[in-house]
């Protein structure tokens, strides 16, 4: 047998593996979609007559500390605090942690809220970089601004936890806008299962293209540029089709840093946020899973599809690459750190299903996908694959991608219908098709780059450049 035959066999074998892997991956996505569909329908029925006003009126509602870390967020910080002030919730405090910003973040807050220096006595439950000053506002009594040395988002969140007064805290991004009743909806699992619930995540939606007026999203629309619209579809798939399904299976691995509510005592118990990883949100949730499973304590980490947090997504490829590199590096760090849980029945569904899934499909997926893009056309070019099969495989690959995107759009349509116009629906559907021609492949390449950076031990925060929200006045001017 000559070497050409060996190469041909290897390519054929690899292609068969790619096909099997590809089918397994997509079938798991489809199964997850059906779990999510069932969960959305149940959730909608349960919440149809929900009495959130009763929580709002009650003294027994658990108070929440909103912790908002800010590093160079001068463009959005005042809007963000304004959106927090308007939250419908009986008792909450807002803690903005200025994490050593070099821009006008602090001074904009000082001016907007007439902040004054205060001294507060608080318990340092978690170690953090030193605090330079604390500020309170006579205008907004429940606002505290902390100015501290730069230590990263995790360090800033830990500092906020130290200063927080309430049993629950909510972490959020300074460039996000939280909907008025998001806290009311997110606190529900804490009230329903008070002993067990340790963390609740909400849905994150893309704010690009939406109009924000005085800290509220007043008009919802899809972005004009194609790249953010692709991300709208991607977010719908990730949250409504992915996290909701994992949450129903009690295997939620991630609560987005953009909006989540946690039981403070549980977070302090696991040592708070870890500054040594690139994705502190994923690391914290994994730590909670690990500790509670090791101690055999009942717990719940829940995703609720209702409380909405709007955030600005990257508007160009450079920013998107930075963001996705960080996310993927963080996932690799956490998977490596908690490898003891992998295939370990002691950790239940986390050890036997969730982590193996993330290892096989999320970590190895980009490599296999990219190699598939090379080997299948190569096999066709070498005459190892006939044209019919090659085309069919291509159609199948696209069909799976399109089906999953449209399925996520269906979940959105039957549940929350945030994009009410027909134009937006068609745009989403078309982007659900077109994202399979370039966007998804580019994301796979970004993940491979992230893997390389991870192996080299590189760490970069991957800070996004914000353009700020579209304001109502801007919209009117444009009109």
């Amino acid at each position: 047998m000559n070497w050409q035959l060996w190469v041909a066999r290897a390519i054929e074998g690899f292609n068969a593996f790619v096909l099997a892997y590809f089918l397994a991956l997509n079938i798991s996505y489809i199964l997850l979609f059906f779990v999510s569909l069932r969960e959305v329908l149940t959730f909608l029925r349960r919440t149809f007559f929900s009495d959130y006003q009763q929580i709002l009126r009650s003294d027994m509602t658990l108070p929440i500390s909103m912790i908002c870390p800010a590093h160079n967020e001068e463009k959005t910080i005042v809007d963000t605090v304004r959106s927090l002030q308007m939250l419908n919730y009986p008792e909450f405090e807002i803690i903005v942690v200025n994490d050593g910003s070099k821009d006008e973040t602090l001074s904009r807050l000082l001016t907007a809220y007439d902040l004054r220096r205060v001294d507060r006595v608080y318990k340092r439950s978690l170690p953090t970089k030193s605090v330079r000053a604390l500020y309170a506002s006579p205008m907004v009594p429940n606002l505290v601004v902390v100015d501290k040395e730069n230590g990263g988002k995790a360090d800033a969140l830990n500092c906020g936890i130290n200063l927080s007064r309430y049993p629950l805290f909510s972490s959020m991004d300074a460039d996000s806008v939280i909907e008025d009743d998001a806290l009311l909806k997110a606190v529900k699992p804490f009230m329903e299962w008070p002993e067990e619930t340790v963390a609740v995540g909400g849905i994150v939606r893309c704010a690009n293209g939406c109009t924000v007026h005085e800290g509220r999203v007043t008009h919802i629309a899809l972005p004009r540029k194609l790249l953010p619209v692709f991300q709208v579809v991607e977010y719908l798939r990730a949250f409504l089709s992915g996290r909701l399904g994992w949450s129903a299976l009690k295997g939620l691995l991630l609560i987005s840093g953009a909006f989540g509510v946690y039981r403070k005592s549980a977070v302090v118990d696991v040592g708070g946020y870890d500054s040594s990883t690139d994705t502190e949100d994923l690391e914290l949730v994994m730590a909670l899973h690990a500790v509670y499973r090791e101690r055999k304590k009942p717990y719940r980490i829940v995703f609720v599809p209702d409380p909405v947090c709007w955030t600005e997504v990257p508007g160009n490829w450079r920013m998107l690459r930075r963001q996705r590199n960080r996310w993927h590096r963080g996932m690799l760090q956490s998977l490596s750190r908690y490898r003891r849980m992998m295939f370990n029945p002691r950790y239940g569904i986390m050890g036997m299903l969730v982590l193996p899934y993330f290892l096989i499909f999320e970590t190895m997926g980009p490599f296999i996908e990219t190699l598939g893009y090379i080997s299948v056309p190569l096999a066709w070019a070498l005459g190892l694959l006939n044209t019919k099969f090659f085309l069919l495989f291509f159609v199948l690959a696209v069909a799976f991608g399109v089906f999953l995107s449209v399925a996520a759009i269906l979940l959105e349509e039957i549940s929350y219908r945030r994009y009410p116009s027909w134009g937006d629906l068609w745009k989403l559907l078309l982007c659900g098709v077109f994202e399979n021609f370039g966007f998804r492949q580019t994301l796979a390449v970004f993940k491979i780059q992230a893997f390389w950076e991870y192996l080299r031990g590189l760490r970069r925060w991957g800070k996004l450049e914000r353009v700020g929200f579209v304001k109502a006045a801007d919209t009117r001017r444009a009109a």
Binding site: D51, Q54, S58, R120, V121, M191, E192, L410
Partner: protein
């Protein structure tokens, strides 16, 4: 696997996927179209029906059928049902009675009653919710029966409906439902009981001592929310309850009611062995009018639990000049926490700002008192505010006086080592 078999397999997969895709796409577009058509139709019909509904509900007599004659289609009935349900929320007396009669006449009450025995819990919930809003007293026995439904959500909806209809028959069932360990349920039932108002006070006063601890706590909370002075005596007794959460909640409720006669008992509760009770007693004393309890609250600033100290400081901060005076007296306390907390409270209440102005425009006595107080701040190393004033105060004389005070104090402290 041979290539023809592979091709066949891929074909089958594409066909299955294509069919599923077709269904999903049709469901997405069909759902959107259906929702939009129905919404448009309902909006149009609502505009047609609303004046007729108003004419009916404000008339002295006549049947609903005289205003909107039948037979009505399913979508029209839906529009009428939701319009009436919306209207009944804002009216009382005769108008409310007219709307309730319309529900009966159109058969909506009977439809909702039938839902109460439906196999699916979500339909039973819908039935209870609608009956609660229809305000018809006829289905009261069915709703009471529903309080024993195995699904907690159904029980709560039944409780809510009973509360809304206002049957005091509901109080006993509602109190029973408080025994549910789910905080969400307890909170909602508590809210329902609180909406019954004064009418619920007497049955509650009779029932609360008999309730188990888990139900007693939310019941005590309701007594506070009803703000009835009749509850003060029982709440004072409950400050000796064997269950610490009940004692803490009783203290809080006394604060909410705000009867100054409760101060004596609350002062005693400041010495409770459990810190949550002490914390709530301190908070409650802060909520009472008058200055009762100031000396005791001052002592509690040295409590070993931060929440108690924090509430005591907040309470003192709400007691006006007498409270500020007590806090100022603590600035040179040997207890570092008490001194710092007192400084924080005075700072946040703006007391230091007032004293700063006195440094310049006060009488000699006021100037001396202000200087003495601000010197204590420097000793406590709380110079942030003073430095801020020394740099940014609008009055140059004040800036100069504060800068001079800071400088002299720093020198004095340096000299003292």
């Amino acid at each position: 696997m041979s290539q023809p078999t592979l091709i066949q397999f891929v074909w089958i997969t594409i066909t299955v996927l294509g069919t599923m895709f077709g269904f999903v796409l049709a469901a997405t577009l069909g759902h959107k179209a259906f929702v939009q058509i129905r919404t448009t139709y309902e909006r149009r019909q609502r505009a047609v029906f609303l004046p007729k509904i108003h004419a009916y509900i404000h008339a002295d007599s006549g049947h609903f059928g005289q205003y909107i004659p039948g037979p009505l289609g399913a979508w029209d009935r839906r529009v009428i049902l939701w319009t009436l349900l919306e209207q009944i929320r804002y009216v009382r007396g005769k108008v409310q009675h007219r709307i309730s009669s319309a529900f009966e006449e159109l058969g909506f009450v009977e439809e909702a009653r039938r839902l109460l025995t439906n196999r699916r819990w979500v339909n039973r919930v819908e039935g209870a919710e609608k009956l609660g809003r229809m305000m018809s007293r006829r289905p009261l026995p069915d709703l009471v029966k529903l309080m024993y439904d195995p699904v907690p959500e159904v029980r709560i909806r039944a409780a809510k409906a009973l509360g809304a209809i206002g049957g005091l028959e509901a109080v006993e069932s509602l109190l029973g439902a408080l025994k549910d360990t789910n905080r969400w349920s307890a909170l909602r039932i508590a809210d329902i009981l609180a909406t019954l108002g004064e009418a619920a006070v007497d049955p509650l006063l009779a029932e609360v001592p008999k309730l188990p601890a888990i139900a007693r706590v939310p019941a005590i909370d309701i007594l506070g929310r009803l703000r009835s002075p009749k509850a003060v005596r029982l709440l004072e007794q409950l400050l000796d309850d064997p269950h610490e959460n009940a004692r803490a909640r009783a203290a809080h409720s006394l604060g909410v009611i705000g009867d100054p006669r409760a101060a004596g008992k609350l002062v005693l509760a400041l010495r409770d062995s459990e810190w949550p009770v002490r914390a709530m007693a301190a908070k409650a004393l802060g909520m009472l009018p008058g200055t009762a309890g100031v000396p005791e609250l001052t002592k509690v600033l040295g409590d070993r639990e931060w929440w108690v100290r924090s509430n005591a400081a907040l309470a003192l901060g709400s007691k006006g000049e007498k409270g500020y005076k007590a806090l100022a007296g603590l600035l040179d306390s040997p207890d570092a926490y008490a001194a710092q907390r007192a400084a924080s409270m005075l700072q946040e209440a703006g007391v230091f700002d007032r004293f700063v102005s006195k440094l310049v425009d006060g009488t000699p006595r006021e100037r001396a008192a202000a200087r003495k107080l601000l010197e204590k701040l420097v000793v406590l190393q709380r110079t942030d505010l003073l430095q801020d004033i020394a740099q940014r105060h609008e009055d140059p004389a004040v800036r100069e006086a504060v800068a001079e005070l800071l400088e002299s104090q720093v020198e004095t402290m340096a000299a003292a080592g």
